[in-house]
Point group: C2
Chain length 279, copies 2
């Protein structure tokens, strides 16, 4: 009989688990933007806890209960929410609150700010907003981006988007150290994404079929799938148990299972149950 | 006729030039330890300006004029000198005063201190002495040395001995960033040593004989010599013009000249004059 083995790290990170628990504890509230990139989970929160969804700040009415999602929101959006007399439930991941507070403190102490991350990502926009001098908050993804930047000070404080790669952060920070008197490096990268990847890599080396559960548009799920394919050619990306095909498991001994960072445990459980029932 | 060309950077750095000028301006004073690693220059200062030399703090008498050399001295030695009512002339290189003050300030703000450098070097001993909690001031030369260290805080401030290599400093700093929440990196490395090396490398590529002037025990002079040998097999290390040999210059077109960081200009001039007079 085929064995089914779950990766030692998979699915939701600490911040997402925490945010969902907060949402479950606040029935009849609404989240500012989708809480996670998983429509099934958003439907579940709506159906079981009447947790709704705002697309815009202008949707919020007085006395509404508003949940701020893990990414956080820009400082001014928070201020506007407060001005509306909305009840604010802050589910910003503590690992995201940290760089926000660092940027606030460092810019008030006269440091130029460098953020390593994607300028279009909500988390980065939120962190950026905490700089006191917005003209001296700079966002880069590559060492080459540094060339376009003129810092106002020769002391620089740096933070990173929580999901970025440490190696790339070091490259950028090293370039800064070589050209500036003081670089104050805050390691704000969260290990969760990489722990999921390491576990998937390890498991895919022993498994003869790998099932990766997650959104087909989710970048971290696609990355997990590509890591598994490197070691196990029979690796499949599915969004739920309905996509499973019996043929995948024919003559297989060990089926590995992992899941992207936005995949709830109950979907993972349904997939595993279905695999076990058939094989 | 053979051309003689001096490297674009050679000999004394800014701090040493400044210290010698200070010594010349303070006749009848004495330096705490030799001002530079060059006995001829120390003799010249003695003969022309009556600048003497203490080997020990205990040599100093009340009302003596004491010159502190470029490396600086430990905080307590300075305190003891002041207690003796000696007149203190501080010729500590400003590039060395900087890491001393950084260590003082950072340790008072609760940072663990890491110094990249040689624990036996007077400069490093001086910088180290400015840490408020001496048990939390750590000195390393290699990444591997970090394993033996337990920092008291998870925020660390780092400085480097001024003459160290930047690449190595980055290696050490990167290892710290990966394991600590905050690393405050101060780039205290001075470019002078490397400018001399770069210039020697460049010149030795075009020269067909290279003369390197400096102490045979001086590590920076030996390094210059070895860089020159890589590009020009006819590279010679001498301490003064008496060591020159006519045969070295036979049928040569371009003679390059460089000098270690402790070689005074007047010795360089004597060497060049002798080369020119013979060839």
């Amino acid at each position: 009989m085929m064995e089914v083995k779950l990766a030692s790290n998979y699915g939701f990170c600490f911040g997402v688990k925490r945010a969902i628990k907060i949402a479950e504890e606040h029935q009849n509230s609404s989240t500012m933007g989708p809480l996670i990139h998983n429509q099934d989970e958003i439907n579940r929160l709506k159906n079981s806890f009447n947790v709704g969804l705002y697309s815009n700040l202008s949707d919020v009415k007085q006395n509404d209960t508003v949940i701020i999602r893990t990414h956080g929101i820009p400082k001014n959006d928070l201020k506007n929410l407060k001005a509306l007399d909305a009840k604010i439930i802050n589910a910003t991941c503590p690992f995201v609150t940290t760089p926000q507070q660092i940027v606030k403190k460092m810019s008030s102490e006269g440091y130029s700010i460098l953020i390593f991350g994607d300028a279009e990502h909500p988390e980065v926009k939120g962190v950026q907003s905490y700089g006191e001098d917005q003209e001296d908050v700079h966002i880069v993804l590559e060492v080459a981006d540094l060339e376009k930047i003129t810092f106002k000070n020769n002391k620089i404080a740096t933070v990173a988007q929580t999901t970025r790669k440490k190696e790339k952060y070091l490259e950028i920070v090293n370039a800064l150290i070589l050209k500036n008197k003081e670089v104050r490096v805050f390691n704000t990268i969260c290990d969760a994404t990489f722990e999921n990847q390491d576990s998937a890599r390890e498991l895919s080396k022993e498994a003869d079929v790998m099932i990766v559960i997650g959104g087909k548009n989710s970048s971290n799920t696609k990355q997990l799938h590509s890591i598994c394919l490197e070691n196990c050619p029979d690796s499949y990306l599915i969004e739920n148990e309905n996509e499973l095909k019996d043929a995948w498991f024919l003559n297989k001994k060990l089926c590995g299972v992992t899941a992207g960072a936005s995949t709830p445990d109950w979907i993972i459980k349904q997939v595993i149950d279905k695999i076990k029932s058939v094989n």
